[in-house]
């Protein structure tokens, strides 16, 4: 603390000097500004005089004769003015021309004044900041200096023993990443809490504190779960996640010199989530699906009611029933992942709260491995897509998108819609919707091939101005169904993508 005190005084002295320097500059600017103002005033007067001078052929004036005497005289040739152009150059010109010269000079003066006033403002601001800094460092008022020091790597090493350099396609283990995230959060949290205590951040909390902290976190977890339940996640959130989180916390506690669990491990908190994390979680989602058949990589948002069944008119006098359950079963059959990682319902994973979540959830599946997609905005080719039967599913997709679009237009929110409820523009659905082999009426998968309706505000590009009225939709379904049918059969996937984007 003594060091801090010393630093404060030094800091204070430096800041005071800084402020003084700034103020000096401001004063200097002020004086220069005054000078230019005077000059400007002089030129104005001159302008006026030049204007009135040629009114008469000659004027009767008192001519100054030396410093003390005047003599009556006449001012003649009133239109002839010899003007100093600068640097010992003179020019004889009419008063009008002289006026032009004067105006030209005024412009220059104005320019200078503007520049000066700008610098003055600039330095005034700087002086203000310096002043604030002074008050802050002098007395720890409302503002607290937040300082974060390095040196947490030992804890990181011990705790996250499975931590490896993540490549985009690697899948680190759940616990390790969670632990690390936890740690990161802890670190950040702690730093903020403790403020200036440089070295004391790594102090181990006592057990009681830990337990108290655990209780706190559990409560938070429950609160969150309440909220999640409200936001229509169709199955068990709370217990699993809370149990998981408490598990995690206990893990964290046991594993290493605990730094005091900061935030609870929040599944969906961004914190530098890399695609591998996303991939892994995605995987686990799929695993979960296998087991539960209840989680989907859907985007859950509030105030939507997730339609479980949707009737889609494919325009061929067939009605497809899109059933969520069906799709889930589909996925569970299709996806054979590494097996259950943690059998927790990783519902939290499906909840998208930040953009990183989107990237986490929407990944490609290549060779049965989730690969983070580079861009969720790019349209996908048919081959990469999930749809099996282009004709049907394209129509179905289209209709599906209509539904989505309609819901968008209603609420301007992306709903957790049938299969994806994705706010993707043209791209196909996320990985789990993959049943490529089932050629049936409607496999329950929705592939968004065509551009989203224009109702979606900012996420769509090239919306073909789709209406939101159901009747017109049906029209357009029929009209648009044929073209998409034809297109993919003949063109390459890149061209298809391009066509879609049009």
């Amino acid at each position: 603390m003594a060091e801090e005190g010393k630093m404060n005084t030094e800091h204070l002295g430096g800041v005071v000097r800084l402020r003084e320097e700034h103020e000096k500059v401001v004063r200097d600017c002020d004086s220069r500004l005054q000078h230019w103002k005077k000059v400007s005033g002089d030129y104005e007067a001159l302008n006026e005089r030049l204007q009135t001078l040629p009114d008469q052929l000659s004027y009767d004036i008192m001519v100054p004769f030396g410093p003390l005497a005047f003599m009556p005289g006449k001012l003649v040739h009133t239109n002839e003015v010899t003007a100093l152009l600068g640097d010992n150059w003179f020019a004889k010109c009419s008063s009008k021309q002289a006026q032009k010269l004067v105006n030209h000079r005024m412009k220059y003066v104005k320019r200078e004044m503007d520049a000066l006033s700008k610098t003055k403002k600039n330095f005034e601001a700087r002086a203000g900041f310096a002043k604030d800094l002074e008050t802050i460092s002098a007395s720890k008022g409302d503002c607290i200096d937040i300082r974060e020091e390095e040196g947490n790597h030992d804890a990181a090493l011990t705790k996250g023993k499975q931590r490896i350099a993540h490549k985009p396609n690697s899948k680190p283990k759940c616990e390790a990443v969670l632990d690390l995230k936890e740690e990161e959060e802890e670190e950040e949290d702690e730093d903020e809490e403790e403020g200036r205590d440089g070295g004391s951040r790594r102090a181990v909390l006592t057990e009681e504190e830990l337990w108290a902290r655990l209780d706190e976190l559990e409560k938070q977890e429950e609160l969150r779960d309440e909220q999640d339940r409200l936001s229509d996640t169709p199955d068990m959130n709370g217990e699993d996640t809370s149990s998981l989180s408490s598990e995690e916390e206990k893990d964290g506690e046991a594993a290493a010199p605990v730094n005091g669990l900061g935030l609870k491990p929040s599944w969906t908190s961004p914190h530098s989530e890399a695609p591998p994390t996303a991939d892994r979680k995605e995987e686990e989602c799929d695993d979960d699906e296998e087991g539960d058949g209840s989680c989907l990589p859907t985007i859950f948002f509030s105030h939507t009611v997730e339609p479980k069944k949707v009737r889609i008119n494919t325009g061929k006098n067939t009605m497809l029933k899109f059933s969520e359950r069906k799709e889930q079963k589909e996925h569970s059959k299709k996806k054979k992942k590494n097996g259950h990682n943690n059998g927790h319902s990783l519902h939290e994973l499906h909840k998208i709260t930040t953009p990183t979540d989107i990237y986490r959830l929407f990944v490609d599946v290549k060779n049965g491995e989730p690969v983070p997609r580079k861009s969720i905005l790019k349209s996908r080719s048919r081959e990469n897509s999930v749809c099996s039967d282009t004709s049907e599913s394209s129509a179905a997709d289209f209709e599906e998108r209509r539904m989505i679009g309609r819901s968008f237009s209603h609420d301007e929110l992306t709903h957790s819609d049938t299969s994806d409820g994705i706010t993707e523009e043209d791209s196909p659905t996320a990985v789990p919707l993959h049943p490529a082999s089932r050629f049936e009426a409607f496999s329950g998968t929705v592939v968004e091939k065509d551009p989203m309706p224009s109702a979606v505000p900012h996420l769509t590009i090239v919306p073909p101005a789709l209406p939101t009225i159901l009747e017109r939709k049906q029209e357009e379904v029929t009209s648009d169904a044929p073209p998409p049918e034809q297109a993919p059969k003949r063109v390459s996937k890149f061209k298809a993508a391009r066509l879609q984007q049009k």
Binding site: T82, A83, L85, G86, D87, N88, W89, F90, A91, K92, C93, S94, Q97, K100, L101, H104, R105, Y108
Partner: protein, 125 residues
């Protein structure tokens, strides 16, 4: 030993101050050139505003000498170029001097340290 150091220190200090003066001189010369530059720029622009009907005079001492407009323009342009060249030259000189003064400053500080050490030792003894 200490006195020798002290003398050395004094000498170096004088050299350093001399250098500083040179630097400031060059800087002021450069600033003068800058004002002349702006001046000449204005003159050039104003000459462009005039046409051939006006007579242009040049002040040489107490005499106003009539000049041709085109001649005047040419002269002013040439002067501008000359001023620019001078400014660059001065800038180069200034940089050079700055470097030298830096070196000198370092030398000075090291000498000072030695001197203080020597004094300390002498004090102890």
């Amino acid at each position: 030993m200490a006195e020798a150091l002290q003398k050395k220190l004094k000498a170096e200090l004088e050299k350093y101050t001399g250098m500083q003066k040179d630097v400031s001189k060059s800087m002021s010369a450069r600033q003068k050139l800058e004002t002349q530059l702006t001046d000449n720029n204005i003159v050039k622009e104003e000459l462009d505003l005039l046409d051939g009907t006006n007579t242009v005079y040049k002040l040489i001492g107490p005499v106003l000498v009539k000049q041709d407009l085109d001649e005047a323009k040419a002269t002013v342009t040439k002067r501008l170029e000359y001023i620019n060249g001078e400014i660059q030259r001065y800038e180069a000189i200034l940089k050079d001097m700055e470097k030298k003064s830096e070196q000198h400053r370092e030398l000075l500080s090291s000498l000072q340290q030695e001197y203080q050490r020597a004094q300390g030792m002498a004090g102890k003894v």
